[in-house]
Amino acid sequence: MADRHEEAQSNTEAPVASETNGRSSKPSGRRFWVIVLAIVIGIVVYAYAFETTGVNLDEIQDETRQASLVRILRAVAHPDLLTYEAVDTNLDIQFMSPCPPGGFTPEESDAGGPQITVAPSCVEPGGDITVAGSGFDANRRGDLLYIATSGVEIRLGDFLTDTDGQFTEVVSTRERSSDEPQTIRAVTAVTVGSIFNWQRVPTGVIDAKTGEEVIVTSPRISNTAWDTWDKIIETVFLAFIATTIGTLIAIPLSFFAARNLMKDIAVPLMALTSGVLFGMIGIGAGLIMLRMTRRASESFTGSTWVALVVLVALLATVWFAVRWAMPQAEEDQPPTRVRVTRLAVVAAATIGVVISLFLLASIMSDIGGWLGDHLGPLTFLGLFVESLGDILHLLVSGGIALVTGFVFMFIGTRLGMALRKRLPEAAIQPVNTLLAVIAGMAAAVLLAQSIAWLYEITDPAKTLWWPALVGGLLGLGGAFLARGKESVGIGLSVYYFARTVFNAIRAIEPLVMVIIFVVWVGLGAFAGSIALALHTTAALAKLYSEQVESINTGPIEAIKATGATRMQTIIYAVAPQIVPPYISFTMYRWDINVRMSTIIGFAGGGGIGFLLQQNINLLNYRAAAVQMLAIAIVVASMDYLSSRLREHVV
């Protein structure tokens, strides 16, 4: 191979050199006009872009707009992280109404700190009075109250101190006459404590249970901050679940989208068609097996203990059966009789395994439920085991038809190859054609049935006869095209199919996908996880497959040369080479998923985005600022963490 490479290089050198010479000798005048044209086109493009995106500099300079911006920026700069307990401070000043004969001089406190005065110190009932304050903190709001001699409080107005801590307000007194001095009270709410000076504040509320007064700390973490904490944890785990599940599915799929692995997969047409037929039979058989095994397992699941005993016995039997049927090393192929027996044993063992999985799922559900009731604070572990049981049940139910289909397809392919070898040369083409027509018909009908389900078509002419005819003709055409050929390259078709599917899924943003899943599984992080996991699967499968395509082909060649099967070649020559890039890409994807999961809540996918969107819609920018801060911290630390991990692993 290396030899050919050198040849190819020396061939291409000459034309490249002459081309560069040609380009540099072009007249420079033309080049000038090309540049001018490019600039003009550039300006036009930009002008149109301005027009369509609505770039408007007047808006930026508008004062009300600027004021709004300032308001939001200030709110964002004060994230609602801490709640301060406020304590009212009262300042009293006395006055007389009506004026006593000798006039009245209120007592003035000579203590430092805030003070208020009234002028005049006595008025006719209902007259105006000027309240002035000094020594307050700047920009502090407060209320002015009138306290009658009976002790009744009436609000007169409020005040706002200026930057020097002073205020002057004119208020109207009430029409109440008294010989006693009456009181005007300035009430300011003062927050207690600071980040550096945490205070314990009695609230005056009596706890109903303990009968003691509730004492709170000030400042304390705000409710918004607690909610944000809850949601950011949910966000991180959403990303975690999506990444791990997506990775697990993407790894095997990525091999199907790797050109270098797929391009020389070719099977004889007979093997292909019988594989397709057997695959479809396999799916049907799988569905029957599903029903049987589920019924069989249900007869043991009444009691957890019975199920457990049956499970252990089954697994032991399966273990020994498989040990017998799959010896570790064998020099030569055993006689057909032994192989058929082995196949039967393996098939029986598979049914045993499926029943065991169902049993295991139900046992896990039982144990999980029990643990959930008895673990106390660790209830979530019990619930987790229970969910695992449910997931297992779901996976086995869903996977079994597919897996049986694959196994049957594999067997069908082998049978097709064996048949082709035994048939006389003259019989190959007719048998090929027959099988291709049947396979084409069956595949087309299956496809038509699923389309019919989607569009609710019931007319048998459309769902059965026409598809069968078209499929049969396609099979006939395929057989005609493949006549005389040793084998047909099926690998590249699979490759293109896988690529197309991955690209299509990847093109849909998880934010859009989540809408479907919200409809399906309801609002919340579960819908978000599924949407992200699906997108992750497609994106990673593509990235992974590109890594597979760029590996060193030497080891593959070497392992193939030892007589290894395709599977073994992948495990021993491909897998070790792709471990570092796979880890690297997974970390990268985990990073992306954390970022995605912060906004997937915008579309109802759970996580912190839900909270953020809510607060933005409520114009509660201080709360939104907390969520933005949390996102920034999490994304930045994930970024750091993943880059450190990547350095370590790769």
């Binding site: 030899d3 050919r4 064998e330 030892t562 007589g563 073994q568 021993y572 070790p576 471990v579």
Partner: protein, 250 residues
């Protein structure tokens, strides 16, 4: 007896790599294949175990048509043909012992290798082969920690794991210095002499051909231009194989 009959290989881009090549190799012979870079040596060796599919012609091994073998039969044939490569083609990130054991993949149960397990007998055999090439103490090192010469010895041990009847060696010493080159060639020689394994080895240096080979064939532009004992390659023959301007080195 390996018979190559009218073997032709045309690559997809139209390159004619092998042009009607025919020769015979009796059991136990050490055959050297010489020729310029790009003369088709690598293609020829890879056609024999069908890592490259020949376009035309037949390869008969003990009267079994290798070129007509199906997938499963080809696997059975390949496991009896060991291969040693110019760039060693070890899996760098795997342990030396894993690299050696992978030579046995054609024999073990494929289902077991899915979980990366080898039977005990294979592990023992791998240790024996490593001992034979003098690398027993490196068994659990990573392959890329080894020097070039050591890596090629691992490559030889991997081929030995197959209990080969034929060894195809594609310029096994072209990336090594002369001292190491002789070391590797001596291993191949001992496998050839002691175990009676047929060796087909492409080589660059004529002195290695003279020293180790029973017979040589020379390729030029995909055609056989010389076939005979190495001592028959005189200066005229040399110029014929390597071109008029070529100078002999070594």
């Amino acid at each position: 007896m390996l018979k190559v009959e009218h073997l032709t290989k045309i690559y997809d881009d139209g390159t004619l790599a092998l042009d009607d090549v025919s020769f015979e190799v009796p059991d136990g012979q050490f055959l050297a294949i010489i020729g310029l870079s790009g003369s088709g040596k690598s293609t020829l060796l890879r056609c024999i175990n069908r890592l490259i599919e020949p376009t035309d012609g037949r390869i008969l091994w003990n009267d079994v048509d290798v070129t007509a073998a199906g997938q499963e039969d080809m696997r059975k044939i390949r496991r009896k043909i060991g291969m040693v490569f110019q760039h060693f083609n070890l899996v760098h990130r795997s342990k030396v012992i894993t690299n050696v054991m992978s030579g046995r993949l054609g024999y073990v149960n494929p289902a077991m290798s899915v979980v990366n397990r080898f039977p005990k007998s294979v592990v023992e055999k791998a240790h024996q082969q490593l001992a034979r090439v003098g690398l027993e103490e490196k068994a659990y090192s990573r392959a890329d920690e080894l020097s070039g010469g050591q890596q090629q010895r691992v490559g030889v041990a991997r081929a030995l794991m197959q209990d080969p009847v034929i060894i195809l060696a594609d310029e096994p010493v072209a990336s090594l210095d002369p001292v190491l080159a002789h070391g590797i060639m001596q291993h191949l020689e001992s496998i050839n002499r002691e175990d009676g394994v047929m060796v087909l080895c492409s080589l660059h240096f004529l002195d290695l051909v003279h020293r180790y080979a029973d017979k040589a064939i020379a390729l030029k532009d995909g055609k056989v231009v010389f076939e005979g004992p190495p001592r028959d390659i005189d200066d005229d023959r040399f110029k014929e194989i390597y071109g008029k301007e070529a100078e002999r080195i070594g």
